[in-house]
């Protein structure tokens, strides 16, 4: 069964957010795991928070909760190139 998380960009500063039990978190370890149907519903609910998040979408993840696609992993961990690889919370 495909597992998904829901991610978006924070409106105020564009930082990467993950749907967490309590709203949104910048830390993927807080991300809720969804079935695709649940994820689609969470994406739809994010439309109701237009002053908080932008561009919510679902991402396929492995059992550890990490994205399968390289692009999404870069979004989680920040640019792979030093010395600017630290993503601020």
């Amino acid at each position: 069964m495909t597992k998904q998380i829901v991610t978006a960009s924070r409106l105020a500063d564009g930082r990467v957010l993950f749907r967490a039990p309590e709203g949104w978190s910048t830390d993927i370890r807080d991300a809720l795991m969804f079935t695709p149907d649940e994820a689609a519903a969470a994406v739809a609910r994010a439309q109701g928070e237009p002053t908080r998040v932008v561009g919510a979408y679902a991402v396929d993840v492995d059992d550890a909760g990490l994205p399968l696609l390289g692009r999404e992993r870069i979004r989680v961990f920040g640019p792979t190139v030093a010395p600017y690889s630290q993503v601020e919370a």
Partner: protein, 552 residues
Amino acid sequence: MYQYDTFDHQLLADRVAEFSDQVDRRLSGALTEDQFRPLRLMNGLYLEMHAYMLRVAIPYGVLSSRQLRGLAAVARTWDKGYGHFTTRQNIQFNWPRLTDVPQILQALADVEMHAIQTSGACIRNVTIDPFAGVAGDEIADPRPWAEIIRQWSTLHPEFAFLPRKFKIAISGAIEDRAAVRFHDIGLRVIRNDAGDLGFRVWVGGGLGRTPRVARELREFLPAAQILGYLEAALRVYNLHGRRDNKYKARIKILVDEIGIEAYRDQVEAEWHAAGGPTLEVPEAEIARVADFFAAPDYANLPDATVELARWRAADSGFDAWATHNILTHRAPGYAAVTISLKPVGGIPGDITADQMEAVADLADRYSLGELRATKEQNLVLPNVRQDQLHALWSALRSLDLETANKGRITDIISCPGQDYCSLANARSIPVAQEISRRFADRRRLDTLGPITLNVSGCINACGHHHVGNIGLLGVDKRGAEAYQLVLGGDAGEADASVAQITGRAMTAEEAVDAVEVAAAVYLDRRQDAETFIQTFRRIGVTPFKEAIDAAR
């Protein structure tokens, strides 16, 4: 350089106030994201993978030391302490907060800069030869014309919603250093037989998913008639360019579809209907703008031949730098210096706020306070006394900015790729870094001679891979990064050509190896003093393909 008048200052003040209000309304929810997106894009603000990205215009790449300090302040105060010079002579900041952008725009306005028309379907920043006004091979200075076009195109109401973005480049020298045949319109300054100044006009060039070498629209257009003619050219495009498919919306596709003759006929008809040759930029206005770019009072100096020879003999580092990074200046005793932003293993085009400030100081001390940003993602100090070159080089060395590789295989042009960009299919920077390390040895650079190497992370081709002598295109191969190697591109007007594909896409490691193979084929097959591109043109792509395939 051009100085803002009260109108320019008011225009920016109004724009900052307007955008501040739009940001407030977005944050309060009065504007939806769909409503806000085109407004922020009109101010150069994108939403990328990790954060917003602000693209700041450097009009035709000309920058004062004061403006560079202003950019350093933006990097330090509101970003992460660095900026990224782009292939369009602009600078991008990768981490601004939306809530800070009004303040950033105000800080930019304070140094006569902005982000207007750095995005959107409008006329973008005009790009020119970074050695304008100082190159030894110049016919006429393109800067006054770039400024006249900038003023005409800024907030031009008719061209605010074109089918797609529109890029204009101008070259004023014998050697085309502005890639005029890879722009929507390319202008080449020429003189006709009577000695009158004018432009050869190219149209429909471009990169992206449909690379095209521009076709000649007009052999000679008297210079003063440029705005009326551009207006006609843009109007025909605005009327007939496709709006149903963004991939077919650039002017190159219109020219493809109706043909250059039909497009030319329509432009001429439109131009003549509006007044044709009678529509001239007033002579007094041309003179007024040209005054801003009058040559500085150069000291009456001899060429520093003896000192240069002594310094070169004494220090191989200086010798290499002087060989690669100095261009002949029109004024005796002076040189135009390229500051390479391509250190070994570095990120092409990146510069820290500290370096920006230090370079601004060097521009004041050694280059009459002026700099240029280049489409190769480097900086230029255009007016350096030859007898101060060694002192400048020593200062650059202390800033790690003395890399001696202009025009060499490690002077890599690279887009930000998937490390930053939402559109990218693959990372560009790590591949560029690995190639840079692989070819770092100075003897190898010298042996290989002039080679352009370009890396793009997707088919949109911001890294200009189509015009690299060696190009790498990042693609997505079933969810994994892969790279296609292309060879034989040339951005210059005389030999403009689009690079040819060598074979199927490879892993990053294989791609770097394939670059090594291509370099080896060149060294093996070159005759006399042939450059890489000359050998490629003589032997074609096949020997390269075969060697790359054999090595895999």
